[in-house]
Symmetry: C2
Subunit: 185 residues, 2 copies
């Protein structure tokens, strides 16, 4: 029944194989995720033919909070190219609590951008820190979002800085499960 | 990996069996959907052991556009009870075009409610016309939304009235596929 030419759903597989080495897996909040040696990013249809510890699904989707000015800014930023090879990556799976999900759209937007500056903070690090957001909640996965970051070795400190700012926001107080994976190519 | 106690994903199966008789299946816009005798609403895990023509998945999710006042109004309406048995139903699968999905959130909200009055129109028919919205787009289904309506035989005209108002809106100009199924218990 699928009429899309290419799937927007991807699978992050933590196991024995894959192009990314998992250098660190840290449980920040909530139930832990067991560690794995390597990470592969595959399509949903690919079945794993090697031992793996977990497979997390996520889907790229439409923007949920950005207004037209922010959209224009993000599109502009996305067209500037990274200067150095993005040999480093981070995968941050998070889940938000029921209080967040029952808030109306205008209150979520107010927390997300007006008070937590999620969009403007993130975009100020583009193109050095490239970011892709995958939605998992409606796929009934253990996390609501998987965020994939890629950056050069020279931008490791910039990434720490960005992540620190996001975690200090009011928005983050709704996160009840968070895992922090750091990877290298 | 699923930690939810009950699944939010349901499957609408058009086939030989099911509690709802399909009285009419009309393709309003875009590619047709073949007809079927009956409709069953099952969980995603149930496999069909009888002949069926199609199975459409959808997921109940958080509200995407309602503000706090509208949320309060909808919650209030949802607690008023239907007076007569809801022996009639309609399933309206729709897909919206790429123009819609690339609009920023504030422009979609403006079209959806400020100019099309989707929320206030729908809620003025509650509790007579009960409505459940299922999201299908991120499940990579052939439709973006499946809306399920239930009402008494005495409210058939009210339902026609509601549907006519929705179809006349600016929002509906973004719909590029729509099927209209009418059912009875």
């Amino acid at each position: 029944m699928n009429q899309h030419s290419s799937s927007r759903i991807v699978q992050f597989v933590g196991g024995a194989l894959g192009p990314w080495r998992i250098d660190q897996l840290h449980t920040v909040t909530g139930p832990p995720l067991i560690t794995a040696a390597r990470l592969a990013i595959t399509s949903r249809q690919d079945s794993c033919t090697y031992p793996y510890q977990w497979a997390l699904l996520g889907c790229t989707s439409n923007q949920r909070y950005t207004n037209h000015l922010e959209n224009a800014m993000l599109n502009d930023a996305a067209h500037r190219e990274q200067q150095s090879p993005a040999t480093h990556a981070a995968l941050i799976p998070i889940r938000k609590n029921d209080t967040w999900w029952t808030l109306p759209q205008d209150e979520r937007r107010a927390i997300f951008e007006t008070r937590s500056h999620h969009i403007s903070t993130g975009s100020s690090y583009v193109p050095a820190i490239a970011r892709t957001l995958y939605h998992s909640r409606d796929l009934e996965q253990p996390f609501d979002f998987l965020t994939w970051f890629q950056y050069a070795g020279t931008d490791v400190n910039a990434f720490e800085d960005l992540l620190g700012k996001l975690r200090a926001t009011e928005e983050w107080s709704y996160v009840d499960r968070e895992i922090d994976l750091r990877l290298s190519a």
